[in-house]
């Protein structure tokens, strides 16, 4: 069974008197353990697709099955729970809580999952160690570099062992060297069996994925496998 099965997914927005067709009927299947890039210029509908995949939004038409569950018609509460358990978000601008230290930021999804304080602290600590931030637990985001912030965000995405890591331009706010470090972290996560979906408009970033879906004008323009994904030379789990 596919992890994600999308059929004829469409999303329309009504803006004043005009209806915008952001997505016009997209069908995709994504298997467990895939490393996938969604590419497209701005206005292509890739952000809309990402919001739908991340259960932040519901489609106007079509079906979306995640792990065999139909999420297209779920209630707001059910969607919140799905986001909590099945999806780990990584954003371009990191989106960490400025007033909380790294550890607390990573703990956050576990709070909403109802994990008791002691256990969630331990799990958050372990996840931070895994992304190479064992010595930065009690630093606040403004005391961390961009790369370190994105690692905290990745740890937060990972901590609840989700089915998908959904990254939206994860290297967009980083210099190229740090960007490469983050991509190498994704490769490592992919090797360990995580499903990763990266939304990007950078060819460089997409080349690291094993499958690339190109979106144009709300439709899939191309869905190609990348037989030789670019490997990052840098050491993988070094902090």
């Amino acid at each position: 069974m596919s992890l994600i099965r999308i059929q004829n997914l469409a999303r329309r927005y009504v803006m004043g008197t005009e209806t915008v067709h952001a997505l016009r009927g997209v069908s995709v299947q994504i298997e467990r353990g895939e490393y996938l890039a969604i590419m497209g210029p701005s206005g292509s509908g890739k952000s809309t697709l990402m919001n739908l995949l991340g259960c932040l939004d519901t489609p106007s038409e079509g079906s979306y099955e995640l792990n065999g569950k139909d999420v297209a018609r779920m209630s707001d509460n059910e969607l919140a729970d799905i986001r909590n358990r099945e999806i780990g978000f990584v954003f371009q601008s990191f989106n960490l809580l400025a007033r909380a230290d790294a550890l607390h930021n990573v703990e956050l999804p576990l709070i909403y999952a109802g994990v008791p304080p002691k256990e969630r602290r331990e799990r958050a600590r372990q996840t931070l160690v895994n992304v190479g931030l064992g010595d930065r637990m009690h630093h606040r985001p403004n005391e961390l570099s961009g790369g370190q912030r994105q690692r905290v965000a990745i740890a937060r995405a990972l901590v609840n062992s989700p089915s998908i890591i959904l990254a939206d331009e994860p290297t967009g706010n980083l210099d190229s060297k740090t960007g490469v470090e983050i991509l190498s972290l994704f490769e490592e996560l992919s090797r360990r069996g995580n499903t990763i979906i990266v939304v990007t408009h950078e060819e460089e970033v997409a080349l690291h994925a094993r499958r690339v879906i190109r979106i144009r004008d709300g439709l899939i323009a191309a869905d190609e496998t990348n037989p030789h994904p670019r490997a990052v030379v840098a050491s993988v789990s070094a902090p």
């Binding site: 932040l56 986001r83 909590n84 099945e86 007033r99 909403y112 609840n160």
Partner: protein, 417 residues
């Protein structure tokens, strides 16, 4: 995969913890918001504590009359109304002759007594001298029982003292201590308003009421007062029932007798007051209820203003933290969790102000206990009411901002700059 969800209790604990963090982060803003609630709660608690101190003092001190006893008097026990005062003043005073009529006609009474204040003056002994502000009381022998006087040493007045108008006196505790700093005053001589009396007794200490000593007076037999100051002295009359059961019946009988004696037409109001320990306390309560009501109204307005302050600051906070709300929603916070977090924040602000107001109000209200020399009180009921009101204020004024926060669109909030 994690199949657990939050229990309501854990959710509450977590949201309160988050709220506390937010309150701490914006310490200046939080303090100013808290100040509003503080003022409202402080004023209500301070006044209620003050009134409670006075009431406690009154109840403790309301032993001015003996058990099952009431007193006829022209004036009401407590009155702040000048118009009433005028009405009381125009009433016919009670005279000594009324006493024998009462004795004869109120058959249910166990004892009937009279006392009269014949003016203040200077008292002196061979050791010391007072200011000319010592009240002089004429008392029949029975008045010791009906007015609940306990003798510290010596004796009260005998019928013979009263009948023949002997020049004897009984001193209040404080007066005795002042005039006779060393040794017993018994058989000593005290000069009051130029007349010398022999001290036969000293009363036990009775304490202060509303800060005024009730032990600073001199008592002489009423017969003596009549002889020296004339038959027209205005008196107060006390009537005592043998027990609780007959008391009410006796009051009615005595009231009827008194109306006949004073020729009150049927259907008219009494032209006298019937005062007992209980009625005085009751009267105090009804008088202070107006004050209480006024303070409650003013405090409510203050608390509503404070609530609006909380709402305002919460709305600002929601806007400022739009991004945070988006993040929380994206990683799996339900609307209800976000809503609870912000309501908890509003309630916390309100409760911190409330708790400070309660503490401050109790301390301030108890200042009056130093003035009236009474033990301090903690009005637990008002502590509870005050804190409950604070919770209500937090919930009422926090709900709209919290609702707004919970219903923000997660996608837009994540992009909010």
């Amino acid at each position: 995969m994690n199949s657990r969800t939050m229990t309501p209790w854990r959710e509450l604990v977590e949201m309160v913890r988050m709220a506390a963090n937010a309150v701490k982060t914006n310490i200046l803003r939080s303090s100013l918001t808290i100040l509003g609630v503080f003022v409202g709660v402080f004023s209500i608690i301070a006044v209620m504590t003050g009134i409670r101190v006075l009431q406690q003092n009154l109840e403790d001190a309301m032993n001015g009359l003996g058990a099952n006893t009431f007193q006829f008097q022209r004036f009401s026990a407590i009155s702040f109304d000048a118009a009433d005062w005028e009405k009381y003043r125009r009433r016919k005073p009670f005279r000594i002759v009324d006493l024998s009529q009462l004795e004869r006609r109120v058959t249910l009474a166990q004892a009937v007594s009279a006392s009269a204040n014949f003016g203040s003056g200077e008292a002196s002994s061979r050791y010391a001298q007072t200011n000319p502000n010592i009240p002089g009381n004429g008392m029949t022998p029975e008045a010791f029982t009906t007015q609940n006087f306990t003798l510290g040493e010596g004796r009260g007045f005998s019928t013979a003292d009263d009948d023949s108008g002997r020049l004897v006196c009984v001193l209040g505790f404080d007066l005795a201590a002042k005039l006779f700093p060393r040794g017993s005053p018994l058989s000593e001589s005290v000069k009051f308003q130029g007349i010398s009396y022999k001290v036969v007794g000293v009363l036990a200490q009775r304490g202060a009421l509303f800060g005024q000593s009730r032990d600073n007076f001199i008592a002489i037999p009423l017969g003596t007062a009549r002889r020296l100051y004339g038959e027209n002295l205005s008196v107060q009359l006390q009537v005592q029932a043998p027990n609780r059961d007959t008391y009410a019946e006796m009051v009615e009988q005595a009231r009827g007798v008194m109306r006949t004696m004073r020729q009150v037409p049927p259907g008219d109001d009494d032209d006298f007051e019937i005062v007992s320990n209980e009625s005085a306390v009751k009267q105090f309560r009804s008088l202070t209820s107006a004050i209480r009501l006024g303070v409650a109204a003013i405090s409510s307005i203050a608390l509503i203003a404070a609530g609006i302050g909380i709402m305002n600051i919460m709305l600002v906070s929601v806007t400022e933290r739009t991004r945070e709300i988006g993040i929380r929603r994206a990683i799996g916070a339900r609307k209800r969790s976000v809503m609870m977090q912000f309501i908890a924040e509003a309630v916390l602000l309100s409760e911190v102000g409330g708790a400070l107001g309660v503490v401050g109000g109790i301390l301030f209200g108890n200042l009056i206990s130093f003035v009236v020399k009474a033990p301090p009180v903690i009005p637990w009921d008002w502590v509870g009411i005050g804190l409950a009101i604070c919770s209500a204020v937090g919930i009422v004024f926090g709900t709209y901002p919290a609702w707004k926060a919970a219903h923000l669109d997660p996608i837009d909030s994540l992009r909010y700059e």
